[in-house]
Symmetry: C2
Subunit: 208 residues, 2 copies
DNA sequence: ACTTAACGTATCCACTTGGATACTTATCGT
DNA sequence: ACGATAAGTATCCAAGTGGATACGTTAAGT
């Protein structure tokens, strides 16, 4: 089984990957993919689908697990790399956007489903966003990257930033010529969020 | 013809509205709607579609015009109302979110398509976001709502805010119980953006 | 070598689809 | 009243769909 995966992914993985490719390319959700369309894209007979999944929603759950798994692993890696960067915001922005570019289908589908109906991928993405935001709070606090900011203000900032990162990742994937500008704008946004929440905190403190 | 519209919308309008309903409900894009599905939802024979549109993309263009027209009209109204508000940010947030709630299908589809492939609605939404952002700059400058901020920093803020407003509108539509919290969070985001860009501007000024 | 399980393919079928074409209805203009 | 036009319905057809069922292939275990 491990040997087979090294040579050619199994039917199940091929179907999952085909689903991402189709959904990304067509701007549709996984739930509206056709069985035969999917099988054609995976290079399989359409009945093979039922060897691995009972329903399209089943496939959605597998895809959601894929999204969450890959994203969380990437974020860990990005955090490690960015911690060695002179400016953490710039480091995170660069590594994240480059990773998104290299995993375009998965990111594209994940971000699109973030605004969809209650699909498995949407739920997975919501959890991912929340987890990234809260772990970012812990990292920023432990490294004293934004001195003086309170945890709830910080969480508001990291949540907005996480969401915005995914949104900008779509543009980064689509517009090769504007990548530098998109990255710079993302860094600007991140800084504005921290400074803005800090300023709001001070305003609230002086009026209380 | 005018009499007919007053009593029951014509076939064309019924098809457009049906398209929004289906896309919003199913989390799909207009481009992937089925002809008969659409006709059923509109209460018409499926061939009636061809009386009004040559292709589904044609319908997409009509829908895009609808989105842009209604959104821009609503924004004008919201600006008038909010200008009479003690705090403009709170006023804009309230009026906008309530309008979104009352036009849920159109907003839902519009925001979803903002992250889609190059569909007519996506293009229309991108123009709407840009227009709202630039007009907000003009209004804020003329009313001196954020004294001292430079126009390019202000545009960055209004662009982020406009996008975030649409994103939060989806949650506002979906989660009646959390509406108060969502509105407050949106207001917080708006203020943080202005203050953050102002702070960044000062930082850049002192380091130059 | 034989058996079993997992995976993949082929065939069939009832149903649905998009689009062509013919027909019907309602409205408007002369 | 009549004719033209716009809008809507009905019928037909070829192609495609999802799912049931049978068959084929491969790998692993005894």
């Amino acid at each position: 089984m491990e040997t087979a995966s090294a040579i050619q992914p199994g039917g199940k993985q091929r179907l999952i990957e085909a689903a991402f490719r189709l959904a990304a390319r067509n701007g549709t959700s996984l739930a509206s993919l056709g069985l035969r369309e999917l099988a054609r894209e995976a290079g399989l007979n359409h009945n093979t689908f039922y060897r691995h999944f009972a329903t399209l929603e089943d496939l959605g759950h597998a895809a959601a697990a894929e999204v969450a798994g890959q994203l969380m692993a990437a974020i860990k890696e990005i955090r490690r790399n960015a911690a060695r960067h002179a400016d953490a915001s710039v480091g995170v922005a660069e590594y994240f956007l480059d990773w998104a570019r290299d995993n375009a289908d998965l990111v594209t589908v994940g971000v699109r489903e973030l605004h969809s109906t209650e699909t498995p991928i949407r739920k997975a993405m919501q959890r991912v966003v929340h987890e990234i935001a809260t772990e970012s709070v812990e990292q920023i606090v432990s490294m004293r990257l934004v001195p003086g900011i309170e945890p709830d203000a910080l969480l508001r900032a990291t949540t907005s930033i996480t969401h915005y990162m995914f949104y900008r990742a779509l543009d980064y994937i689509e517009r090769p010529r504007q990548r530098r500008a998109i990255r710079d704008e993302l860094v600007n946004f991140m800084r504005a969020q921290f400074l803005g929440q800090l300023a709001l905190q001070r305003t609230t403190a002086t009026s209380a």
